[in-house]
């Protein structure tokens, strides 16, 4: 049995691994990506070199962390490995881990879930057409191999990250037709200016955003504000983006960027308490000052606890790593508190910036709009808003609506539709989204070929014994 299994090789997971390894723990890190980095520092595949990879200032700290992580001894890196199951056992946890050619069960005394976030899905007419993607997915292509998926992009949403993604597309030789912010510029400025001190403290990030805007200006890419996307049009694939003011823009890729929701399926599967994240939604895993959940031995860090950005994730990973070493008796309280002091101060400072960014990117207005009744809400099972509303007249428990409509029963396990459904339920019965909980989180967190699971026989014999 290993001391610590970390799920997620982004900044949070790396920082935790560094602290835990320094305290002498045996550590294994699992990530679906082949190489460490997480979303923000997604690395090119080994053997590729990408000029100016992650050159921006905001990435400096993340790059330094990555370099330290890759130099660590005593940490086993398991890339290309999805963790599909997490269950508490008598003296620790059991993970079901899956690679393309096998599944395995791994026992660990402590588990850290640092699984990051994913793009907030916003159901609008045409969002299921081939060619519509999340900005995160567009960026993943660009960051890893600088291959630009397709021709002419429109970026639409509320999140300033759109500027960075658009600039990255342009720099990789792609064509961006426009960057269309849903909210008016005045609102962004007002919310930023509400906290000028924070702007000064995090000037680096604003410099990056400004640099991105310069790239776009040089390439002649218009950046517009107050232009809500109404629908994506096309019969077989994306042909155009239609905006609320009636204007239509021809394109063959639409990247949506309305914010991010925490990836918390594993903590939920293990029974940890989660809370609905304000505005953008999604389940943020609750934790104490050492990042431990209410399932003893299960820790969380980074965006699994709520979306706050890479720098906060790094702090939380560090705190979790120290907290885990402490919980295993490798650090006493005083030593742990000493190690954590500076990180706690930094975390508090960064939180101000995270709050400001969330205020600027606030998708509340977008989420409050009711799309046309025939708009698909659950894309795996093709369930429309109208079908959901018909059931909401008599049943509003999330699992009841799921059973009645199949919404959330598909291959994504509800990742794409749960938030939208919970918002519909809240609107129907006048409660807050998530007030009555969500879908029951079930095994597996990722699709697994049945053949691989049959092969778990041997290890499961051990599971019976303990």
């Amino acid at each position: 049995m290993i001391d610590l299994a970390i799920i997620g090789g982004g900044p949070a997971g790396q920082a935790a691994a560094e602290q835990a390894a320094a305290a002498g723990l045996s550590v294994a890190v699992f990530d679906e990506q082949p190489r460490p980095g997480g979303q923000i520092a997604r690395q090119p595949p080994a053997g590729f070199t990408v000029p100016d990879w992650l050159a921006g200032r905001a990435y400096a700290e993340v790059r330094a962390q990555l370099a330290r992580f890759e130099g660590l001894g005593g940490v086993a890196w398991h890339g290309g490995t999805a963790v599909a199951g997490l269950a508490a056992g008598a003296d620790g946890f059991r993970l079901t881990v899956v690679t393309p050619d096998g599944a395995e069960r791994v026992a660990a005394r402590r588990v850290l879930v640092a699984a990051g976030c994913y793009d907030l899905p916003v159901p609008l007419p045409g969002w299921t057409l081939p060619g519509v993607m999340s900005a995160g997915a567009a960026q993943a292509f660009v960051k890893s191999q600088r291959i630009v998926p397709g021709g002419r992009f429109v970026l639409a949403g509320t999140h300033p990250l759109m500027l960075v993604v658009a600039a990255q597309i342009v720099e990789s030789g792609g064509v961006v037709a426009a960057v269309m912010f849903d909210q008016p510029l005045g609102r962004c400025v007002a919310r930023a200016l509400a906290d000028p001190l924070t702007i000064v403290r995090h000037a680096g990030l604003f410099v990056d955003a400004a640099a991105a805007r310069r790239v776009l200006a040089r390439a002649g890419v218009p950046v517009r504000f107050g232009r809500p996307l109404a629908a994506v049009e096309g019969s077989e694939a994306v042909a155009a983006a239609r905006f609320a003011d009636g204007s239509i823009m021809a394109c063959d890729r639409v990247a949506l960027c309305y914010g991010f929701v925490p990836q918390a399926d594993l903590p939920r599967q293990a029974g940890a308490t989660v809370r609905w994240q304000a505005v953008a939604g999604g389940w943020a895993t609750a934790h104490d000052a050492w990042m431990e959940t209410d399932r003893p031995g299960l820790f969380v860090a980074g965006e699994t606890t709520g979306v706050g950005g890479a720098a906060i994730a790094l702090c939380e990973g560090r705190l979790a790593g120290i907290g885990i070493a402490r919980s295993l008796g490798r650090l006493d309280d005083a030593a742990a508190a000493g190690l954590a002091r500076a990180t706690r101060r930094r975390h508090a400072r960064l939180s101000g910036f995270a709050r400001m960014l969330a205020a600027i990117a606030d998708p509340a207005e977008v989420l409050a709009r009711v799309p046309p009744a025939d708009t698909i809400l659950c894309r795996c099972e093709d369930v429309t808003h109208a079908e959901i509303d018909a059931v909401l007249a008599t049943a509003t428990a999330p699992n009841a609506v799921k059973l009645a409509t199949r919404c959330g029963m598909g291959v994504c396990q509800g990742r794409m539709c749960e938030g939208a459904l919970l918002r519909r339920i809240a609107a129907a019965d006048g409660t807050a989204p998530g007030a009555a909980g969500g879908f029951t989180a079930r095994f597996p967190a990722r699709l697994v070929p049945i053949d691989l699971l049959c092969g778990l026989d041997d290890v499961s014999a051990e599971a019976v014994a303990d």
């Binding site: 269950a87 597996p444 699971l453 499961s460």
Partner: protein, 371 residues
């Protein structure tokens, strides 16, 4: 008629089960020796009625329940298992249910998708499956149309037995006290607890099972598949997903000296691997499909494995309908218990049909309960 439901209609086992319509004598009756198997043939009387009930159910309820009755195969991989199938089929034939043994070329013709390891099967033409998502809501709609009231998010918290009836205390959305001439406890795995409120022992034991479902694929499996020697039930649901189960256990939470039915049972890794291994051994194609979800659910069984459906002798006016494979047999239980409670001409016949399930067989447990 008032239906009291603590959560929402279909929240319990009826919305979580495998949806099998199995009429062959179940494997659980066959794995306990010949004496039990012989005795269990009595259940086939109810199965025969259930075949007819399911054939007419969509029309009776005026709803699409995705009833597929295209036949079921209970498969065997060894000579011993084939012998079990032969004995079972003989018993079924004697009881008026026709299961035929198929093997060789005939088996391959009926079910070309089965692996070479399967050497024979009992084929029963009426078996199949239906959609648990659709059945309970259709019954709810029909009951409402007939004048029944459904009180959801309403829990029975006390039952006082009065001369000629019951005073039932309700909490939640429909809080209050209602008077009833007769009371039917049909609370699934929670029925024993509701019985306690009426001061009677209902000997039902909770068991937690787990189920698995694959992604949706094009139709390739028209039959219900079961196994005579190993735990397996498998079918392709209407939507295209393959459901894999067959009585593999999950683990109930326990606390306070008893099983805690309010908590979700925990998935057991050996059950998961074991169930999927049997499924792929019988139907190799399934191995290439993706598992999208495994879930757990709780159902109730009795000490002798037969259902518990009928009048509770020590408490006049009190009835129970619980236990057993009550997706397959549920509509039949419902029809018979309703006839029995309504009294009149059909009551005696209904009571006779339910003889094997009569609560009277356990009435000795209530001989110290003080009425």
């Amino acid at each position: 008629m008032l239906i009291v439901e603590a959560a929402h209609a279909n929240a319990g086992a009826s919305g979580q089960n495998a949806g099998s319509l199995h009429f062959q004598i179940e494997r659980r009756f066959l794995e306990q020796g010949e004496a039990k198997a012989a005795e269990a043939a009595a259940i086939t009387g109810l199965s025969r009625m259930a075949v007819d009930d399911w054939r007419g159910l969509e029309q009776a309820l005026g709803a699409d329940l995705h009833v597929h009755m295209h036949g079921g195969l209970m498969v065997a991989e060894t000579a011993d298992e084939v012998a079990m199938l032969e004995r079972k089929a003989a018993r079924e034939r004697a009881a008026g249910l026709s299961a035929e043994l198929v093997d060789g070329a005939e088996l391959r013709r009926i079910a070309p998708y089965l692996s070479e390891r399967v050497i024979a099967a009992n084929h029963m033409a009426d078996e199949g499956h239906a959609d648990p998502r659709a059945v309970t809501p259709a019954f709810v709609a029909a009951a409402r149309a007939a004048g029944a009231v459904l009180a959801e998010r309403t829990r029975v918290t006390a039952i006082a037995r009065r001369a000629g009836g019951f005073a039932v205390t309700l909490a939640g959305a429909g809080a209050g006290t209602v008077q009833a001439d007769q009371l039917l406890i049909a609370a699934g795995v929670w029925s024993a607890g509701v019985g306690a409120l009426a001061n009677v022992h209902l000997p039902l034991f909770p068991v937690a099972l787990q189920m698995n479902v694959t992604e949706r694929v094009a139709p390739f499996l028209p039959h219900l598949i079961q196994h005579v020697g190993r735990r397996l039930s498998m079918k392709q649901a209407h939507a295209g997903n393959v459901l894999i189960g067959g009585g593999w256990p999950s683990r109930m939470a326990a606390g306070d000296g008893r099983f805690d039915l309010s908590r979700r049972p925990e998935l057991l890794a050996p059950s998961l691997a074991g169930n999927l291994a049997v499924a792929t051994a019988v139907l190799p194609h399934v191995g290439g499909l993706n598992l999208i979800r495994s879930w757990t659910g709780t159902t109730a069984i009795t000490a002798d494995q037969y259902p518990l459906v009928g009048a509770v002798p020590c408490a006049p006016g009190l009835f129970v309908a619980a236990g057993g494979s009550a997706f397959t047999l549920g509509p039949t239980f419902a029809r018979l218990i309703a006839a029995q409670m309504a009294g009149g001409g059909a009551a005696a016949e209904a009571k006779a049909a339910l003889a094997i399930a009569a609560p009277a067989r356990f009435d000795h447990l209530n001989s110290f309960m003080g009425g």
